[in-house]
Amino acid sequence: MRNLLIFITKYNAFFLFLIFEISALIIYVKYNAFQKASFINSSNEVTGKLYTQVNGLYEYMSLKAVNDSLAHENANLRNQLKSSFYIDTIAKHKIADTVFKIQYEYTPAKVINNSFNRAYNYITINRGSLDGIAVGMGVISSAGIVGKVVNVTPHMANVQSMLNKYSRFSVMLANNKEIGSIQWTDDLDPHKAVLVDVSTNAQPKIGEAVLTSGYSLFPEGIIVGRVSNLRAKGGGMEITLAVDFSKLQYVNVVDNKFQKEQDAIEALQKKDDQDNTR
């Protein structure tokens, strides 16, 4: 008996090994053969909770893809908005015909290059002529107007930003629909613009919204900014722009389906004017 105890203590590692190995194997065979819910598996409260936490982290990492799909969805929804349809009720018909025809179509795009601290700023977007983008189309973001397309390649387009000395868009005051045009300030502040050519009997208020007029590339009523100062330095009114150009990420390109027709008829009129003055 004493010899046996000495033997066991001398080789205690081996006996401990036997005990633990056998218990591990018993657990292994028992729980894996029957695959029953046991107290050691991931439905266990602690491990389950940990997995939920880590899954939250993984979801955060896939936010980029989710954002992309949401931008697409937004553009699709905009396409279905009533305001992007042109009401084609023809007066000759006596029936109140409400067939809609799409006037504005939106294409989502991602800003891949952007500048806002030069005198002539341009934005590059990741959509081009293959996606239906053409020179002269307007570009808006969810916050307001951004600029217009000036160059296209098959996969890219160059947008002349609102923050560009050449940019000039037709806008109106929200309350009394007085028309004016907006251009960038001389002091190159990326948050400000000036509203000029407003008729003198307009009575603008500070904080009043400035919207697109519908005479430009954009659908009517898209916000441009708010009046922040009635007398700017170089004349006109100072506008605080609605879009933060330094944080621009996703934009929508507006395709006005009637732009060509409008251009053609206006060209015709100009020609007539010239003929008359001669």
Partner: protein, 172 residues
């Protein structure tokens, strides 16, 4: 003493986290899967009593099993690892040297000894683990290649970690 317990506890938690949330998702060519968590058992101090060593190995194995949904599998492999560790240390290290060499880390024991130690223990652990997991002789070729490549991957990671936490010998 308290410090040793604390360090080993932190090491336990960290290695489980790394194993379960990072390395579980890593598999090279469906062959090499690292099981870095065994580093915990390998780095326990030399003077750990055998009983405690087996208990810790068993608990470590069961913890990993809880996350891998394979109750008993890793525990069994870890117990084998503990036995191999005891045998390896009793053969290669002098009992008298324990006082100034408390832990079998890379910085204390030197590269040659640690590499042999890590390789031997990992090979035993992985051999047992993969064969117990498959539990068949028919896929022996695939199992063996998985075993060899995974062992190399694991040892590589161990050496990387050993070098990351490398401290110069504090000999008086």
């Amino acid at each position: 003493m308290i410090r040793t317990i604390l360090v080993n506890f932190i090491r336990f938690v960290l290695l489980v986290f790394i194993q379960v949330f990072l390395l579980k998702n890593i598999t090279l060519y469906n062959l090499a899967t690292p099981y870095l968590y065994i580093l915990f058992i390998m780095l326990l101090p030399f003077d750990t009593p055998n009983l405690l060593l087996f208990v810790l190995a068993f608990v470590m194995g069961l913890t990993i099993d809880a996350f891998y949904d394979t109750p008993g599998l890793h525990a069994a492999a870890c117990v084998v690892l503990a036995l191999v560790r005891i045998l390896f240390i009793s053969i290669t290290v002098q009992k008298e040297g324990f006082d100034n060499e408390p832990e079998p880390t890379l910085s204390i024991m030197g590269f040659r000894w640690f590499f042999t130690y890590a390789l031997t223990l990992t090979l035993f652990h992985h051999f047992f683990l993969f064969n117990l997991e498959v539990f068949r002789i028919s896929d022996i070729q695939y199992t063996l290649s998985r075993f060899v490549l995974s062992s190399l991957f694991t040892v590589f990671l161990m050496l990387v970690i050993g070098l990351l936490f490398f401290r110069k010998k504090e000999r008086k």
